[in-house]
């Protein structure tokens, strides 16, 4: 039997949804508004999307963002995977210690991450640019990858690897034929999350970017200071779409590995 909820709960949920999604809905809706002014609706159009792709600054920011996202994703995925595998072999105390340290960048406020990295780069007199943004993105993405893969490894347990070893597989063969296929969906999911984080990051990038390394979020921020144009709405809509798609893909990968317990690190 279905238990009956209090009617107020339904209303509460509705208000929550409105609260969260109305601002986003506005941006998406106005990206299709043929009027330049946000105030009135004068018809449906794709013009802003078209003019977006003709805009040299937008395209440059996009290319910067993609380069940074791809490189930082590759590096952080490899590092995060290795750290997750390594930490598993440690003793209990070390595991808690190192695990906690790797988890910390997720909790530390972005503004502090950004500021501390800026101080560091200044100390080493590194010119701010794509390289510094990539390094910054790796530092926080790696933690997410590590957490996702650690969850996957815990779900897997030790028995499969013991079974492989019992059946004559050496350390490399065990990793290649058992561990890697088991954690592969986690690696892909971690990479997708890292990519999304890099693409969306504003705060940390803002501190460590240089004149020639404007990313999309930084570009949007710069434009908004001069008033919100429909192009920006269109750009934001695309970013929302890409992020949501990537996160859904990541979640899909995490739920793969048929017949096993559903291990979700995200709430859906």
């Amino acid at each position: 039997m279905k238990s009956k909820n209090h009617p107020l709960l339904g209303i509460h949920s509705l208000i929550m949804m409105v609260f969260i999604y109305v601002p986003i809905a506005f941006i998406i809706a106005y990206s299709f508004n043929s009027s330049r002014l946000a105030a009135d609706w004068s018809g449906f159009t794709f013009d802003w999307y078209i003019s977006l792709f003709g805009n040299r600054h937008v395209m440059e920011a996009l290319s910067n963002s993609l380069i940074i996202a791809v490189v930082s994703t590759l590096v952080s995925t490899v590092l995060g995977t290795i750290s997750a595998l390594a930490i598993r072999k440690l003793g209990k105390k070390m595991k808690v210690g190192f695990g906690g340290l790797l988890y910390l960048p997720i909790i530390i406020p972005d503004i502090i991450m950004g500021l501390s990295l800026l101080v560091l780069f200044n100390q080493f007199q590194m010119p701010l640019g794509k390289i510094t943004i990539i390094i910054a993105h790796i530092t926080f993405s790696m933690s997410y990858v590590h957490v996702v893969i650690t969850t996957r490894l815990i779900g897997m347990g030790n028995q499969l690897e013991e079974a492989a070893s019992d059946l004559g597989a050496g350390a490399w063969q065990t990793f290649r034929y058992v561990t890697l296929p088991q954690i592969f969906p986690g690696i892909i999911a971690g990479a997708l999350i890292a990519f999304t984080l890099s693409l969306d990051d504003f705060m940390v990038s803002f501190f460590v970017s240089g004149p020639s390394s404007t990313t999309l979020p930084i570009y949007i921020y710069g434009q908004v200071k001069r008033g919100i144009s429909p192009e920006i709405n269109a750009l934001c809509t695309i970013l929302i779409l890409v992020s949501v798609t990537l996160i859904f893909l990541a979640q899909f990968m995490l739920n793969r590995g048929k017949g096993q317990k559903k291990q979700s690190v995200l709430p859906f």
Partner: protein, 322 residues
């Protein structure tokens, strides 16, 4: 076949397995039996190579295994929760060990076919583990192990996760399999009935120590310690002149005539168990109850609260040490 020489295991100063010497014969079905935490699984894992003994040696066919990693030991383990590779089909699971040994493909096929036939998995080879029932998964785990033709098969509570009826069926299948393969089985279980049914010899363990080693018959009829007397089957423990002796419930007699019986008491409960009845008796002078099993051919049933004489033949007393 397998020889354990003074094998000892300590975890962080705590003794998990006290020094143990044991010889397992070729083709033998040997069971390590004991409650959880008694060290039986640790012994199995030391033989398989997943745990390193703190002291002592493990020999297989005269060669010292102690320092060899699990992948270089000529024996296979059937895990408690099967540990099948979820991303491989039944066939690939079974082939895994053969591929690791770089066996020619044709021979691999023969071995797989043989293992599949023995475990009745013929129609399931293309399935993935999650598409199989618990009993089928268990069969795959066994097929995967025996395809390697190991000298010894180690089994860690392989039927523990299955329900009672299925367990009963698989017990007899396992026994038949062991007979037809002729390889040594080392079996771990906490189920004394299972141990009695399957084993040639049983090692009874309690808190890291061996209590008794013997055939099921020896262990049932002549338990040497209090633990093995009470762990395997039901038993009644009496004492006389500071010595303990055990008498199985089926060896006790319940007498209506209280006079002349060795002990007297009052019927506390009467259980009807189908083929037999069980009488629970509270003894008069000792704070204990005894169980009496008997065929119910008496013309009048026992009543709760009735006076009863408990008697037995002196030769049925089994003196137990300590």
């Amino acid at each position: 076949m397998i020889e354990l020489v003074q094998v000892e295991k300590r975890f962080a100063g705590q003794v998990v397995v006290h020094p143990l010497s044991l010889t397992i014969k070729e083709g033998e079905f040997l069971t390590l039996l004991g409650p959880s935490g008694c060290g039986k699984t640790t012994i199995l894992r030391m033989i398989a190579g997943f745990e390193q003994p703190t002291d002592g040696k493990i020999l297989l066919d005269g060669t010292d295994l102690t320092d060899l990693p699990p992948n270089r030991r000529d024996l296979n383990l059937v895990f408690q929760h099967y540990a099948l590779f979820p991303h491989m089909t039944v066939e690939d699971n079974i082939a895994f060990g053969l591929k690791m040994k770089k066996m020619p493909v044709k021979e691999q096929q023969e071995r797989i076919q043989e293992a599949v036939t023995m475990t009745q998995l013929n129609s399931l080879t293309k399935r993935y583990p999650h598409q199989l029932s618990g009993g089928q998964q268990q069969r795959v785990a066994i097929a995967r192990a025996i395809a390697n033709k190991p000298k010894v098969l180690l089994l860690d509570e392989p039927l523990g996760a299955l329900d009672l009826q299925l367990r009963k069926n698989l017990q007899s299948e396992l026994k038949q399999l062991q007979r037809s393969l002729g390889i040594t089985f080392v079996y771990v279980t906490h189920d004394q009935e299972e141990a009695m049914m399957l084993s040639d010899r049983i090692v009874i363990m309690n808190s890291g120590q061996v209590e008794q080693i013997g055939t099921p018959r020896q262990i049932y009829a002549n338990p040497t310690t209090l633990f093995s007397a009470t762990f395997v089957g039901e038993n009644n423990i009496f004492s006389r002149d500071g010595k303990m002796f055990a008498i199985r419930p089926e060896k006790l007699r319940a007498l209506r005539d209280v006079e002349g019986a060795k002990r007297t008491g009052e019927v506390l409960d009467v259980h009807y168990l189908g083929s037999v009845h069980k009488l629970v008796v509270q003894l008069d002078n000792e704070p204990m109850t005894v169980s009496i099993l008997f065929d119910f051919n008496d013309n009048r049933p026992w009543e709760v609260g009735e006076r009863v004489g408990v008697d037995w033949k002196s030769e049925d007393e089994v003196i137990i040490g300590s």
